[in-house]
């Protein structure tokens, strides 16, 4: 590991610790409360929220990295590509159709529907775009809009009382779940992240032209489809728990590359750390900024992310990423 990579990972770790501290300490003043209610607020509300924010942020950061790599395009991420929209629709329809059952059954069922729906969206869009990245990204944005509308229509038809809830879900929020739910998400991130680090040398080769990577011995098609499936699974899991939080998957890999350079052995863990930290900060910031409404955190990440996306787009046109 180079010095730069070590420094980058340390920064990521510090950011995560700071993010956790913010999420646990910021919020209503607990000074006048009894010991018992203080513990209830911290362990019953803030810890699960912090776990959910960290899990979703890490999942989205890693998912964005895997998509940008697989498509060799720095503007890709699960949100922009319609995967998040597809997942959100799958997840919401499962929720609306299954109703209020036992969470232990409903949540995995929703995640599964989200994954299937996200994969379907991705493969249809890829087939339709036939290698044209602009078409893919445009298709993704349109798919997101369509899915959001479809989710609202479904909610209106099945259970009108839930429309507000669906709207919050489509914006992206940090829930206060039982601890096992975000733990499941974090386990998912840990397993897929470990796979990506293990395969990092092969992932590096995906940046080359397919023929070159193949000639160097990489099983290009297989690794790319696995990376995309992993990216979709991470997005589906994050969306199921926290709704459609935008732009984290887009921005985090750029920050990670700027900090650590280009090797995926570092980019993978760093994207997880930074993604988790960013969503923790955004969540704490949302609480601090407007504690009286608790605006869904996705509203803030999108406000921040949209101009950043434009900036990246302009920059990508100026300095082409590849040499021929």
């Amino acid at each position: 590991m180079t010095r730069r990579e070590a420094v980058a990972l340390s920064i990521g770790l510090l950011a995560l610790i700071a993010g956790i501290a913010c999420a646990l300490l910021l919020g209503a003043d607990l000074g006048g409360l009894s010991e018992a209610s203080r513990a209830r607020i911290i362990f019953g509300l803030r810890v699960p929220e912090a776990l959910a924010a960290a899990g979703a942020g890490a999942a989205l950061g890693l998912s964005g990295l895997l998509f940008q790599l697989s498509l060799r395009n720095n503007l890709a991420d699960p949100y922009v590509m319609g995967v998040a929209g597809g997942s959100a629709f799958g997840s919401v329809s499962a929720l609306l159709i299954l109703g209020d059952g036992a969470a232990a059954v409903i949540l995995p069922a929703r995640a599964l529907c989200a994954f299937v729906s996200g994969m379907a969206t991705l493969s249809i869009l890829r087939r339709a775009a036939r290698g044209r990245v602009v078409a893919l990204l445009l298709g993704g944005v349109i798919a997101n809009t369509a899915f959001a509308a479809a989710a609202r229509v479904l909610a209106a038809l099945l259970s009108p009382g839930q429309i507000a809830q669906v709207t919050v879900f489509l914006l992206g929020y940090v829930p206060t779940p039982p601890v096992w739910e975000p733990s499941l998400l974090l386990a998912c991130v840990a397993i897929l992240g470990a796979w990506a680090v293990y395969k990092s040398r092969t992932l590096d080769l995906l940046l080359l032209a397919d023929d070159e990577a193949l000639a160097l011995g990489a099983d290009v098609d297989r690794v790319r489809s696995r990376a995309m499936a992993a990216g979709t699974l991470l997005a589906a899991a994050a969306v199921t728990l926290c709704g459609m939080i935008g732009f984290i998957g887009l921005l985090i890999p750029h920050a990670a590359r700027a900090l650590s350079g280009h090797r995926h052995r570092t980019l993978v863990p760093l994207s997880c750390l930074l993604g988790a930290a960013l969503l923790l900060f955004a969540h704490s910031g949302a609480k601090a900024l407007a504690p009286w409404v608790l605006l869904p955190v996705g509203a803030y990440t999108s406000l921040l992310g949209a101009p950043a996306f434009l900036w990246l787009m302009v920059r990508a046109n100026k300095a082409s990423m590849t040499v021929e």
């Binding site: 080769l205 940046l207 070159e212 193949l214 000639a215 160097l216 011995g217």
Partner: protein, 266 residues
Amino acid sequence: MIAFDDVTFAYPGGPALFDRLCAVFPKGRVSAVAGPNGAGKSTLLKLAAGLLLPSLGRCSVDAIPLGQATPLDRAKRVAYVPQNSLLPGDWPVKDIVALGDYPHREKPPAPRPIKQRLNEAREALGLQAIWERPAATLSGGEAQRVVLARALVQETPALLLDEAASHLDLRSQVMLHHLLGRLAGDGRSILLATHDVNFPRLWGFDLFILGRSGHLAPFPNKEEEQGALLEKVYHTPLIPTKLDGITCWFPDPGKGKHEAGIMNAE
């Protein structure tokens, strides 16, 4: 030795590019394949590299067929330098060159220590001055040298170069041709695709001509036969010039103008 046994190949939906092609490019030699655009030089190289699989017949390196080999095993035997490569712009040159170690790293043993191979490749292709630079800042010729260095680090018995000198300046071309001669001398099989029918013979390489019908012929020794073959394959009048006792062929500017008109009319 790179061998084609009865190789038949067609792209999906296209006509057969090669029909039962048999050819042997021996160990210890640099073999060059020239031919008109679209004759299938690049396809021939991709078949030899195992990147494309023939619909019938087989391609092998040192008698080991590539069709059954895993990607890693294949990459330990054949290195391939494409006509155009895609270099990740933010990677420094040294890390791109080091990617040539991938197959040996994933599947040991490595032929020799990586440090040694990296240093040799850097010296051989004159990359010292750009070793730390990001790929986005390289010129076309520099990028081509980087990809060649990566193939050297791969250190395979067979080396395939698709118009490897196309972006190189004169000095780098000379450097490359010396290097290829030296590598062949070490007992490797080297196969080039090129547009130049003269330099391979001036450098003592073996020349083959690939016609539009997918027919591969060794370059004849007699001057009359050479002229007839080249004019038939390229549909262009050529004039011979002796250089170092070797007959070189150049397009005839006077007649060419007239013929080019005919070609456009076709």
